[in-house]
Structure formats: structure tokens, C-alpha cells
Amino acid sequence: MGVIIEGKGLTKSFGGLTAVKKVDFHLNKGEIVGLIGPNGAGKTTLFNLMSGVYHPEEGTLSFNGMEITSLKSFEICRLGIARTFQIVRPFLKMSCLENVLIGIIGRGDPREGIKAKGEEARKLLKFVSLEGHEKNSANNLTLIEKKRLEMARALATQPRLLLLDEVLAGLNPSEILQALELIEVIRTQLKMTIFWIEHVMGAIMKASDRIIVLDQGEKIKEGRPEEVVNDSKVIEAYLGESDA
């Protein structure tokens, strides 16, 4: 199997607030790992560190054995890490097809012709059930469709590791089932490693191989789903949240 990504002692603060504190973690190739924790625990910040949106003050990140700590977002993406955003960021003034095309162009492979790229983008839109929206402006999509569009754009970069930030939020139970099927297909057929943040506990516990729990920037627990749900520290962290 082997480790695909590894973080050591990652720390990132904003002003006086330490959003991510000395976090160690790793993912094995082909794994699907859930990242959970109460609001403000630092989950999205950890994703931002992994995708080069921010750089850590301390600690290192390596991907497939290569140090990526201070690389830029586009470099990290080209090495094989793609992501979606918790607060969606599709290119609003561009069509759905153009949104996905950017991911394909982002691979930086000049050998492919524009025709082939268009075909591939169409297929990806179909893959996330957005066929028929090719010429539609991303702005006209519903929130859920925008999330699927971001997923297609991320897949277009042909990542080895996919970071999904709350893709299930706001979906109804049957839509959650569809989304989980999609994620399973991505993992088994496209052979990608998946790291995902979710607040929908049932889903993330059921579908993940392993869970990492953050609280106030620190990793407080890591293990198989059944180990995590019964952990007293984890329960406390979540209880603390509902008290507040």
C-alpha cells in the first residue's frame, strides 16, 4: 500500500488563534479517511495547508515521498492533489463545460487537443450527473449542483488524492446515498485516495476506513470508526460544542 501523504507537526495560526496545532497524520494509498471535529476545529485549515492555499508556520508535508510544504497551489495540484471547497467556488461567470475544462487545462499537458478536452469535460459532467448543463452558466446552478461541478473540476485534474470538504452538507437522505455511491466509484474505479470532511456522522462513519478527529486545532483521536465514536475525548469535544 504505502503512504501517499504525510504531515508532521503542522501548525498554522491566524493572529492569536492557532487553527492547526502540531498535527501529525498520514493517509495510505487507496484509503478513504474521514476528518471530523466540531465547528472551528481546523479541518478546512488543514485542507488549505495540504492544497497550498496557506503554508504552515511549522511542520512539513510530503506527498508520495516528496516534500510539498511550501509549494504553490497549482504545483500541488499538478502533483496530484485536488480539492473541493466548503464554501463553493465554481467559476461563476463561466459555463459548466468551461469550469471542467479549466481542470483539464490545469494538468498542463499540451499534447491533448481542444476537441479531446471538450469530450473529456462532457464525460466528467455526465459522471457527476450534470449532463445538459454544458452551456449553462455555473451561476445558474443550485448549491448542490455547484458542489457536483466542483467535484467534476477536481476530478478533471486527474488527482491521486481527492480532498472533499463537506460535499454532503445540505443534501437530503436520497441525495446523500447518490453522493456516497459516486465517492465509492471514484475510490474503486478511479483508484483515488480520499480525505473528506463531513458533519453527517452516519455517512462518514459508514463509508470511511479510518477517522481523524480534530478539536481546537489538535488531533485528539485517530482510528477505525467504531473506535472513534465510543472515545470519551471525542464525545466530550462534541458535547462541549452543544453546550456552547
Binding site: 497551489s73 497549482f74 467559476f91 461567470k93 463561466m94 468551461e98 479549466i102 487545462i105 494538468r107
Partner: protein
């Protein structure tokens, strides 16, 4: 390109062949100047409208083109076309350098640095008068052995059309797509594998080269190059043309250039306040109708015809 657009462009080109047959020398001059502004505003739109970088150095780069070509033809006796070619190259290189230096800063810093660059260039041109003839102006040779406004009109028409074709191709290419992605959301573009700094520098260099080219032709038409060519007044006029016509659209700057250049011929008699007036209108447009005149007309037509 859609069939309809192709026919409309074709019709405009055919119509554009006739003005020399019935326009006076004076109005032919206005048309030539308008074509120069079409090149300026359209190429400025490429960076400002398509990648969101408000540069104030665009007139300065046209000045680079004009003075480089002017001095090469005067002092070295090069033919104007070669001078313009080199002037365009110089503008491209300088655009690349300036872009590389200040684009990492982004936003307001880019605007301020380009503003500073224009002023420095203007001061150098004014002071180094043993080469540039300062405010007296540098007399340069024309394009044609026999001076004829009709010849210049067709020359400018051809160059403008070629430049617009290049701009159209860029906008509709993969490069144009990355321009728009960077304008839409830089973080998302970068996270999708787009080297956003490279995209912005490239857009800046291409646009600067185009402005250098336009400036080169302009200089050999006027045959007298003064520091007015790279002035901020000129810059704001170009900005107003693009904004009022409609930034981020292909037709906007074209329409804006003709309308404002022709208008300014009428209001010039009241003094040189027209740039100020256009600036104020542009500000109001940017606030209330950012799609410009072309955007407003498009919406109106869609409502009436659809």
C-alpha cells in the same frame, strides 16, 4: 465563431471600406484616430476586462512603441515597419518585466506601480530631449512616400482588423479561458492547476505588446511624437472608452472608442475638459452599469426581439 457573428463582422468590414469615398479629410482623420483607440482600448480590455488587472501603463507602452520606432527611423534610418516591429518587441519585453515585478503584488499595488511607471517614462522622455526632442516633439517619417489620409485609413483599418482577430482568437482559446478563470476566482484557479501568476504576466505582456504596436503606427501617422502619447490623459481616455463601451466584452471597447472619439471632436471646442467628463461618466458606468453601453443594448435587444 457563430455564423451570425461572422456575417455581422463581414458586413462591418465591407461598410468600413467606404468612408474615404465620402468623408472630408478632417473626418477621415477622426476615423484613423478612432481606429488607433480601438486597438488601445481593445488590448487594454484584454488585461483589465479579462484578467481583472487595472493597468495604468497602457498609454506608456504605446509611447514606448512610438518613440522606439520613431528614434530608430530618425537616427538609424530604419523603415517604419521594421521600427514598429522592434517597438512592439520592446513594449512586450518591458511589459513582461513590469508585469513580472508587480503582478505578484496584485490589485491596487499593480495599479499604483503602473501609474508610477507611466510618470517616470513621461519624465524621462521630457528630459532626455537630445534624443526625444522633449515637449517640442520628435519629427518622424511617415509610412508612405506620398502623404495620403486615404492610404493611412486603409492601413489602420487592416492593422486594427488583424489585431482584433488576434484578440478574438485569444479570448476564445484555452489561454482566454485561463484568463477568465483567474478573473473569476484566483484561489479556485490555482487549486485547479492553473499557474495564475504566469497567466497574469502573459496577459500583461501580450497586451503591452499590442499597445506598443498601436503606438508605433500612431507615431508614423502623426509624424510628430510628443510626450502626450504616453500621457495619463491619454490613458484615462482609453480607460473611459473601454469602460463606457463595455469591459470584458469583445465589442465594448470598439464601440466605446468610436463613440468617445467622435464625441470629443464636438466638445473639444469647449476646452480640454472632455477627458474629465468621460472619466466621470466612466466612473458612474462602472458603478451602475458595469457591462457598459454594449451590455445595456444587448439586454434591451434581447428583451425586444426574444
Amino acid at each position: 465563431m457563430g455564423n451570425k457573428k461572422l456575417w455581422i463582422s463581414f458586413a462591418f468590414i465591407i461598410l468600413a471600406l467606404f468612408p474615404p469615398l465620402f468623408l472630408s479629410q478632417y473626418w477621415l482623420h477622426v476615423m484613423i484616430i478612432s481606429l488607433f483607440y480601438v486597438m488601445m482600448a481593445s488590448s487594454w480590455n484584454l488585461i483589465a476586462g479579462f484578467t481583472g488587472q487595472v493597468s495604468f501603463a497602457h498609454a506608456a507602452f504605446s509611447g514606448m512603441g512610438a518613440y522606439t520606432s520613431g528614434m530608430l527611423t530618425v537616427y538609424l534610418g530604419l523603415p517604419p515597419w521594421l521600427g514598429i516591429l522592434i517597438g512592439t518587441g520592446v513594449a512586450a519585453l518591458l511589459g513582461f518585466g513590469l508585469g513580472y515585478l508587480c503582478i505578484r503584488m496584485g490589485g491596487i499595488y499593480l495599479s499604483l506601480t503602473t501609474l508610477g511607471f507611466s510618470e517616470i517614462l513621461r519624465i524621462i522622455i521630457t528630459n532626455e530631449d537630445q534624443w526625444t526632442r522633449g515637449t517640442m516633439g520628435l519629427q518622424v517619417p511617415g509610412f508612405f512616400v506620398e502623404y495620403s489620409k486615404t492610404s493611412y485609413y486603409y492601413l489602420f483599418l487592416i492593422v486594427t482588423i488583424l489585431l482584433l482577430i488576434v484578440i478574438y482568437k485569444i479570448i476564445h482559446s484555452e489561454m482566454g479561458l485561463t484568463f477568465r478563470a483567474v478573473l473569476n476566482d484566483e484561489v479556485a484557479a490555482s487549486s485547479s492547476g492553473i499557474n495564475t501568476v504566469r497567466v497574469r504576466v502573459l496577459a500583461f505582456a501580450i497586451s503591452s505588446a499590442m499597445s506598443g504596436l498601436a503606438g508605433g503606427f500612431y507615431g508614423h501617422y502623426l509624424m510628430l511624437i510628443t510626450p502626450d502619447v504616453p500621457s495619463l490623459g491619454q490613458m484615462f481616455l482609453v480607460l473611459a472608452m473601454a469602460v463606457i463601451g463595455g469591459m470584458g466584452s469583445f465589442a465594448g471597447p470598439i464601440v466605446g472608442s468610436f463613440v468617445l472619439e467622435i464625441l470629443s471632436e464636438y466638445i473639444r471646442v469647449y476646452g480640454e475638459y472632455h477627458v474629465l467628463l468621460f472619466g466621470l461618466i466612466a466612473l458612474a458606468m462602472a458603478r451602475f452599469a458595469p457591462e457598459g453601453v454594449v451590455g445595456i443594448l444587448r439586454k434591451k435587444w434581447r428583451r425586444e426581439w426574444a
